[in-house]
């Protein structure tokens, strides 16, 4: 799962870097893969991966301030703990988790950037980002289930 997620993160990074359409706040969807990873991997493996991927992706930021390291690791831990508490069979779980995940991710990132001396900004486009997150996370879950059943 870690390999698949790292490939997906890299593809998203390349898309966001090479095409202006994807470079805006709507397609800041790295967190969806971290949320997905939290369901299907061990804590320590996923946690270390989220740190490394946050470090790698964050280094390409125009002003790197460690925002992705913090956000990825905190988001991973939060979702890892939540999945054990909440009922993951409930449909609302799969809608609210990516929706809230977007804003938690943005909040962590903006807090870190504020500490580094940049302004705290919440764009209205993050609503679209959150809606897109719901679709992508559910699509990934659908693909995973389909593969799991077909192989079984």
């Amino acid at each position: 799962m870690i390999f698949k997620v790292s490939i997906s993160l890299f593809i998203l990074l390349v898309l966001r870097t090479l095409f202006e359409t994807f470079s805006g706040p709507v397609f800041e969807l790295y967190h969806v893969f971290i949320i997905f990873l939290a369901f299907y991997t061990d804590f320590w493996k996923g946690f270390i991966f989220s740190l490394i991927s946050g470090y790698m992706i964050g280094s390409l930021s125009t002003f790197p301030s460690g925002e992705y390291i913090l956000s990825f690791s905190l988001l991973f831990t939060s979702v890892y703990m939540l999945k054990n508490v909440l009922n993951s069979e409930n449909i609302w779980f799969w809608i609210l988790l990516p929706f809230m995940g977007t804003f938690i991710h943005i909040l962590f990132i903006e807090c870190m950037r504020s500490i580094a001396g940049f302004g705290f900004e919440i764009h209205p486009q993050y609503i679209l980002n959150a809606i897109l997150s719901i679709f992508i996370l559910n699509f990934m879950e659908y693909i995973r289930r389909k593969n799991a059943f077909s192989s079984a």
């Binding site: 990074l13 706040p25 740190l51």
Partner: protein
């Protein structure tokens, strides 16, 4: 009880990471060393992909997408004629200026050479306005070098990798440029609005500025050479409160249409 210690370990680990990132932010503001290594590694495949995408885009633009080219050609011919007349008038003025310079004993003290680069990518974080160009350390680029295009000022080189560099655009809120009103010669500070435009900071209410005024770099800080066109005033507001006018500037360069850029290498 074991579960408690496991959770305690997890939370303390996150706390340590949080502290580390915080300490990094306060001790090394530029954070160059910490983020340089992975950025260099990731920039290589992105540069390779970027070159391929750039070539494909160029192929499409130059050979396939030829609708309205004839019409555009006619318009350009007319514009060329107009520019010819303008250039001749300017040549006359240049001759006069050279004679005056000779009289005053004025001498150019700074000379600049340039390197041409292509835009191959954009900022991968949603917040900052930046572009990626296909020239880097191997071509002699250094951080802080000004980037211009045919229209005017584009931005400043922010990070340099071996084969590519990231450029922060003048439309970014974190970049400030000292500028000069070409009509009134008043100086001000230009900064990005975070979208596609710019605004002037600290332009006093008593200052003389009008819609259509052109701003160029002023070289107060010696960061940019003097005389690079930056943008034109499109909106003016005089708020009741405060000491300053709100002046919106539209940059001459549209970063969405940028293809080739020039990096000014200071000697």
């Amino acid at each position: 009880m074991q579960g408690f210690w496991k959770n305690f370990l997890k939370i303390s680990m996150i706390f340590v990471i949080f502290l580390t990132v915080l300490v990094l932010n306060f001790t090394d503001r530029e954070k160059k060393r910490f983020f340089r290594f992975p950025a260099r590694i990731i920039s290589i495949p992105i540069f390779a992909f970027g070159e391929v995408v750039y070539e494909i885009k160029n192929l499409w633009k130059r050979y396939v997408y030829l609708i309205n080219v004839e019409k555009e050609n006619e318009n350009l011919k007319i514009k060329l004629l107009e520019k010819d007349i303008e250039i001749n008038a300017l040549r006359e003025k240049l001759k006069i200026l050279e004679r005056l310079k000779g009289l005053l004993g004025y001498r150019e003290t700074f000379q600049y050479s340039t390197v041409v680069g292509n835009v191959i990518g954009y900022s991968s974080d949603g917040k900052f306005k930046g572009i990626l160009i296909n020239i880097g350390k191997n071509q002699g680029l250094k951080e802080g070098m000004p980037v211009v295009s045919a229209g005017g000022l584009v931005g400043v080189v922010k990070q340099v990798y071996p084969f590519s560099s990231s450029v922060i655009l003048i439309t970014d809120k974190n970049l400030s440029v000292d500028v000069l009103n070409t009509r009134t010669l008043e100086k001000s500070i230009l900064t990005g609005d975070g979208k596609d435009g710019c605004r002037l900071k600290y332009y006093l209410k008593t200052g003389d500025v009008a819609i259509g005024d052109v701003f160029q770099t002023a070289r107060i800080s010696e960061f940019f050479p003097r005389g690079i066109s930056v943008g034109t005033v499109i909106e003016l507001q005089n708020p009741d409160e405060g000491l300053y006018k709100e002046v919106k500037i539209r940059p001459f360069t549209d970063h969405k249409k940028l293809n080739e850029v020039l990096v000014i290498i200071k000697k």
